[in-house]
Structure formats: structure tokens, C-alpha cells
């Protein structure tokens, strides 16, 4: 593994400029004060009930996600670069999805193998030839980015289905403002509070042509037992829209309505946090009780907009990921600004051979896995685990990709022994509307709280931090 880049102390141990004030402040603030504030933050989170659930655990229906009070800071120039890269990437993603469900130019050109698309379970035949308003499929993307040195950012994953975590971005900022006003006064931190406005503007901008001039937007949640329910209710509240479940909606004559105390009310845009599979029992899983029967026919008739569109998984699938640089070039004719992590596709024979030779060094991921599950971190695995993965890889190479073990950058973090560096990633949220692409300066920084750990997922002991983008 390469040297670890610390975002505060940099490569040579001297404090990097964006962290100048923070570093001074950390050395000034008495440890007990910091600790006190940390506990205060925890109490606030508990009180407002910001929770998440971990799948596969019993009796852990609601758990708090740990919050770290030391902010992660990006300079304006760094952020500007990331933003340009994100915008480029999301534009390419939308062009690609439209193409795959339309003219299929990229397949005809042989840039992406046909079977990777057509035989992929996340490709939705139902979307074939389907027009969506303003050709936007992904309205909300959460692009996971990691940093390895002062100038190199990699995209780790494109979340183009129902990315979550934005409520943490907003709540973390809220709490930091409450706990550390003096720290803010020593920085010029770009605000993130307008995210809900930006999101609402984005959603309204893609309303169907048949909607009224003030379209009705709703947020569709799977319900209170979903791990992200808190976020759903939080966002609905901030957006000022109804938080609906499938049973609140019904479809009549290819138009979607919600049941209100004043009778049926037409719905124009559904910001849905329900997966494709569960959206409509008449089109997808017939046993789903989370969706609204007939919503797909209303969608196909152009009477309602789904954000994100159905079938966007074909853009963020791990098998497709490795083609992203080619996708950017194909549609935009530009070199990608943000790099991909070098990726070996085990479906290709020479790649597989390479990977099997170097399992001890590589990270091997299941193509359809998520949340850090179903993955092998070579350098951290024992012999038995490696051999088990070797067998899996050989029997179904198509299901795996491999990447080098990257040294995620570290950021000072408040842990038991005091302030210590911990590995982080970053999920900025990109909004794509009819009029423009909006990116709120910041995002969700996830931090691996265990020393040396590279797994930042909240389901596996990760925490979050406030992310500051400096104005100057």
C-alpha cells in the first residue's frame, strides 16, 4: 500500500493551508472541552432521532451513526476541480442511459459489450424507448470520491439509483454551527443549507408537460422500517412536500393521485426512495406492497416523472463502472477530469489471470454487492479467505472486479486516544435539472473510525463528518 496522504499535514508533515486555522484551534482547545462537545453532539443526535438500521441484525432497528466533530476541509480550488469533474461525469451518465435505452450507439460502436448491458439484471427492458422529460434519467447522484494525494481524486462509485446520506450533510452542518460557532467565525465556510431548495427546484423543473405550472412533488418512502426512513422524513419536511408510502398513491387513467383528507390530488413528480423492483407490482415484483400499482403505466404515458428514472442502475453497476472513462469520452469527446480507480474486469481472461496472481494485494468486489459486503481486501485477509475468494472468482469471474488497495486520505478525527488521522471518503450530491446542474459545496464525509480501517460504511463501524468547502 502506498503512503497515506493526510489532508491536514500533507506529504511533508507541514500543515496544508486550508487546515491552518483548524490545526491552531485543535491545539488550543482543551481536550475535555472537545470531549464535552462531542458528547453534546451525540445527545442532540439521539434526541432528534437520526438513526439508521443495519440489515441482517436483529433488534437493531434503530441505531445512531457516530458523528465526528472535527470537520474535513477542502479549499475552494480543490472543490472547483471536483465540481467540474462531477458535472462532466453526470452529464455523461445521463447521455449513456438515454443511449442504452434508445439508439444504443455505444453498443453498436463496441465500446461496451452488449451482454454486459442486456444480461445485466439492473438493465430494465421496460425503459426501452421510453422518453423521459428533458432526457434526464439521473436527477440526484451521489458520487463517491476518494483522495490519494494533493492533486488526485478518484471516483470510487457512481450512485445513480437512490443515493442516501444527504440528511447527514445537512444535520452535521447544523450541529457544528450550534456547537462550534467560534470555529466558523475563523473560516469562510460555503453554506450547504440551500440543498433542499435546490433539490425542489430540480424536481419541479422536470415535471411532465401535462403538469400545472406549480407541479406537485412527493417523496416516496418504503416506510418507517426502512433504514433511511429518518432521511426521507427529514427531506420531505425540508422540501415542504408530502412524504408518501405506496398505499397513499393510486393510479387512475394513467395519472397518479395521492389520497388526501380533501380527496384525490394529482401527483406530478415522485422523488422516489423505493427501488425499481418494488415500485409497481403490476410491472415488477408482483409481491411488492411498497409501490403503487400502475405507476409505471402513468410514467410510460408521460403523466408523472420519477426521480431518479427507472433503470439507472445500468450506469452505476460495478461492472459498468470500469467503462466510465470510455463513456465520458464517447459522449462528450472529452478526457475525464476525475479518474476511475484502475479496475480489472474479471470477466476478461487476461484480467482474471492477473487478479488471481495478486489476490493478496488487491481489493476484489462483487459486481452487485454494496455497503462493503461481499468484498475481499487482500492485504487484510488471511489465507483461508483468499482461497475462498479464489474459488468464487474461478467459478463466476463475471461477478467480480478487482482494484488496487488504495490509500484513502486521512483527516484528523476525534478518537479515544485524542486526535488521530482516520481514513475518509466523500459523497457529494449532484442535482441535474432541466435548467442546470447544481452541486451544493460539500457533501457527506464518511470516516472509518477504526484505526487503519478502510471501510467507511456506516453499517460497518463508519462515522460521518461535516465537510467544509472554503469560500476563498
Amino acid at each position: 500500500m502506498a503512503d497515506v496522504f493526510d489532508e491536514m499535514t500533507g506529504a511533508d508533515g507541514s500543515i496544508r493551508p486550508p487546515y491552518g486555522e483548524l490545526s491552531r484551534w485543535l491545539s488550543e482547545i482543551p481536550p475535555e472541552v472537545l470531549d464535552h462537545r462531542r458528547r453534546e453532539a451525540e445527545l442532540i443526535f439521539q434526541r432528534i432521532g437520526i438513526t439508521f438500521a443495519v440489515y441482517g441484525e436483529t433488534d437493531s432497528q434503530e441505531r445512531l451513526i457516530p458523528f465526528d466533530v472535527v470537520p474535513r476541509i477542502l479549499a475552494a480550488a480543490e472543490w472547483g476541480f471536483v465540481c467540474r469533474g462531477l458535472e462532466q461525469r453526470v452529464k455523461a451518465i445521463n447521455a449513456y442511459i438515454g443511449d442504452v435505452y434508445g439508439r444504443r450507439e455505444i453498443l453498436k460502436a463496441g465500446v461496451i459489450p452488449e451482454d454486459l448491458v442486456f444480461q445485466n439484471p439492473v438493465f430494465r427492458p421496460e425503459m426501452n424507448g421510453q422518453k423521459v422529460p428533458h432526457d434526464i434519467y439521473v436527477h440526484i447522484a451521489g458520487i463517491d470520491i476518494i483522495r490519494v494525494d494533493a492533486s488526485t481524486f478518484y471516483v470510487l462509485e457512481d450512485n445513480a439509483r437512490t443515493p442516501s446520506g444527504v440528511s447527514y450533510m445537512l444535520e452535521n452542518r447544523e450541529i457544528m454551527l450550534r456547537l462550534f460557532p467560534e470555529l466558523f467565525s475563523r473560516h469562510r465556510v460555503a453554506p450547504v443549507e440551500n440543498y433542499p431548495n435546490e433539490l425542489l427546484a430540480t424536481l419541479k423543473s422536470v415535471a411532465p408537460a401535462t403538469a400545472s405550472s406549480d407541479p406537485t412533488v412527493v417523496l416516496l418512502t418504503p416506510g418507517i422500517y426502512n433504514s433511511a426512513y429518518y432521511e426521507h422524513s427529514f427531506l420531505a419536511d425540508k422540501l415542504g412536500v408530502e412524504l408518501v408510502e405506496g398505499r397513499d398513491l393510486f393510479v387512475k387513467d394513467e395519472t397518479v393521485y395521492m389520497r388526501t383528507t380533501q380527496g384525490p390530488q394529482r401527483v406530478d413528480v415522485i422523488y422516489r426512495r423505493v427501488d425499481d423492483d418494488f415500485l409497481d407490482p403490476l410491472a415488477f415484483r408482483p409481491d411488492s406492497a411498497l409501490g403503487a400499482p400502475g405507476v409505471m403505466s402513468a410514467y410510460q404515458a408521460g403523466n408523472v416523472t420519477l426521480a431518479n428514472a427507472v433503470g439507472t442502475g445500468i450506469a452505476d453497476d460495478k461492472a459498468v463502472y470500469s467503462y466510465m472513462p470510455a463513456i465520458v469520452k464517447f459522449y462528450l469527446g472529452e478526457e475525464p477530469l476525475l479518474n476511475n480507480v484502475p479496475t480489472w474486469r474479471c470477466r476478461e481472461e487476461d484480467h482474471l489471470a492477473y487478479v488471481l496472481d495478486r489476490l493478496e494485494e488487491l481489493v476484489v468486489k462483487e459486481v452487485h454487492g454494496s455497503g462493503g459486503y461481499g468484498m475481499l481486501i487482500g492485504p487484510r485477509a488471511d489465507k483461508a479467505q483468499i482461497e475462498a475468494f479464489r474459488t468464487k472468482l474461478k467459478s463466476s469471474p463475471k461477478n467480480f472486479i478487482a482494484q488496487p488497495t488504495l490509500a484513502l486520505s486521512t483527516v484528523p478525527t476525534c478518537v479515544e486516544e485524542g486526535i488521530a488521522p482516520r481514513h475518509v471518503d466523500l459523497r457529494p450530491f449532484v442535482l441535474v435539472g432541466r435548467d442546470c446542474v447544481r452541486i451544493v459545496p460539500g457533501g457527506l464525509t464518511r470516516v472509518a473510525l477504526k484505526k487503519g480501517s478502510l471501510v467507511v460504511n456506516s453499517s460497518q463501524g463508519g462515522g460521518t463528518k461535516d465537510t467544509w468547502v472554503l469560500d476563498t
Binding site: Q119, P125, V251, D253, L282, P286, G294, S297
Partner: protein, 275 residues
């Protein structure tokens, strides 16, 4: 052959339903072996039938009926002129390359038993796709007993394969799963079948499979009858599995005690000599 089809799907509710929404795939389209002379759908409740085409080119109708409904009848009636094309399907709407039909679905996932069956058959017939498909057709027809009791619409290919029993839906699922497991694109067809034994009243529609043979194109295999598709087959809808081609998918709001009955009448209206 000129075939007349009358297909009635009736629902009765002990406690009236407050509403029903349904998605129908009940309307045939033309292809080289089939020409639709006339066809119409009637729904017993007041509602608008919205027509659209699905991803595979099937003609779909959806409707929402408002209650209280103690009964709902969807009836279809029409005539189709068919021609024997030696089971080869040409001139139909094709929205996807054959490779799409290698996708597995929950209903058509091949388990080890089905894989072994397909592999064992291939071991005997060799790699000639058409020969292999014919052999699978013959074996499934011989091994699996037609029996409407043990299976239902949500039975998977592998479940039915263990039971060695099932209806045309199950046989078609097994056939499709087996073909895909040896790399042959295959799909599910729903439709009607005109029996030559004089029986015209049936209590369900029919289903068979189509498999892709590069030298011929899509070829119809009816494992229930142990034959390839003929001019006795009226082809209605195509899908990856039953769910994609189901005649009716729907949801009921309110109400309870639903009883469903299906009546299908398939008869020949006029003999014509084909040259």
C-alpha cells in the same frame, strides 16, 4: 386455420372491492404466421381502457374501475387467421437482440437440477442447437405430468422441475430456464391453442416457449403438447417469463373473498385450404 377465441376472466367479491386496477396483455399482433381479423376487449365496469405497447412490443391495456364492485368480468373475443410456418417466428416485432433473452428471472432461474438436465441432454445431442432443443422438448413432455393442482402462478421453474408436475406455464418456464442455461436465448409466450380432439372449452389460456436458433431465428416449442408451434397456436404476448406476458396483472383495493374463474373457448370457424 381460422381460429376464434373467447376468453372470459371473471372475479367475484364477497365484500365489494372499492377499486380495481389491471394491466392486460390479451391482444394478439400480426406476424408472418398470424393475422388478426378482429379482436375486442370488454370490461364489465365503467372505465377507460388505455392502450400502450410494452418493452417487448406486446399490446397492453390498462384500466382502473371504481367500486363498489361485487363482480368484474374482462372478456375478449376475436378471430385470427393462422398459417403453419414450421414453428419459425418471423415478421414479429423485435425490440431487443436475442441475447437479452439469456437473462434469468426469479421464475426462470435454473438450479443445479435444471442445469444438469440441460447439460446431460446436450451431452447426447451435441452442440446442434435445434437438435438439442427438440430433445429437451421431448424429454420434458415425457417426464413432466400435466397437473394443475400442485403449482400456481408464482411457482418457479426449479420448484416445478422437482415436482415433475405442472401446467403449461411451468413446462414453459422449465424449458426456458434449461435453454438459457446452455446459452440458448429463450422466452415465454402466452396465447391460445386449438385442440384437434374436439375439445373447445378450456379453463385457462396456453403458454409455450420460443428459443433462438441462429440459422432459423425464433422457433416455438410447446412442451405441454410435445410439439413445435403450429397453426393451432395463437400467439398473444412474449416475455422473459410468465410475469412479462401474463394475460392479467392487477390489484384490488378493499373488498375480500375474491373468487376467480377463467373460461376460454377456442374453436375453428372455417376451414380453408392453404396452398
Amino acid at each position: 386455420m381460422r381460429i376464434r377465441v373467447v376468453h372470459r376472466t371473471s372475479y367475484r367479491y364477497d365484500t365489494p372491492a372499492t377499486g380495481v386496477i389491471q394491466m392486460l396483455r390479451l391482444t394478439p399482433r400480426n406476424h408472418d404466421g398470424q393475422y388478426v381479423i378482429n379482436w375486442r376487449i370488454d370490461v364489465s365496469a365503467d372505465c377507460r381502457l388505455n392502450q400502450h405497447e410494452d418493452a417487448f412490443g406486446n399490446l397492453c391495456h390498462s384500466f382502473t374501475a371504481e367500486g363498489p364492485l361485487s363482480e368484474l368480468v374482462v372478456s375478449v373475443e376475436g378471430e385470427v387467421e393462422t398459417r403453419n410456418t414450421n414453428a419459425v417466428m418471423t415478421g414479429a416485432i423485435e425490440r431487443f437482440p436475442p441475447s437479452l433473452f439469456l437473462r434469468e428471472t426469479p421464475l426462470t432461474t435454473a438450479d443445479d437440477a435444471i442445469r444438469d438436465f440441460a447439460a446431460a441432454t446436450r451431452a447426447e445431442t451435441g452442440d446442434d442447437g435445434l437438435k438439442l432443443l427438440h430433445e429437451m422438448l421431448a424429454r420434458l413432455h415425457a417426464d413432466i405430468t400435466f397437473d394443475p393442482d400442485p403449482t400456481h402462478t408464482a411457482t418457479t421453474a426449479s420448484e416445478a422441475f422437482v415436482l415433475k408436475r405442472g401446467v403449461c406455464q411451468d413446462l414453459s418456464h422449465i424449458f426456458v430456464a434449461a435453454a438459457r442455461s446452455v446459452g440458448i436465448p429463450a422466452r415465454y409466450i402466452s396465447g391460445h391453442f386449438h385442440r384437434d380432439d374436439g375439445v373447445t372449452d378450456q379453463d385457462a389460456g396456453h403458454a409455450w416457449a420460443e428459443a433462438f436458433v441462429p440459422s432459423l431465428g425464433w422457433v416455438g416449442f410447446d412442451a405441454t403438447n410435445g410439439i413445435c408451434a403450429t397453426d393451432a397456436h395463437v400467439r398473444i404476448a412474449v416475455g422473459l417469463d410468465y410475469l412479462g406476458a401474463a394475460p392479467v396483472r392487477g390489484t384490488r383495493y378493499g373488498g375480500s373473498g375474491e373468487t376467480l374463474s377463467v373460461n376460454v373457448l377456442v374453436n375453428q370457424t372455417q376451414h380453408q385450404s392453404q396452398s
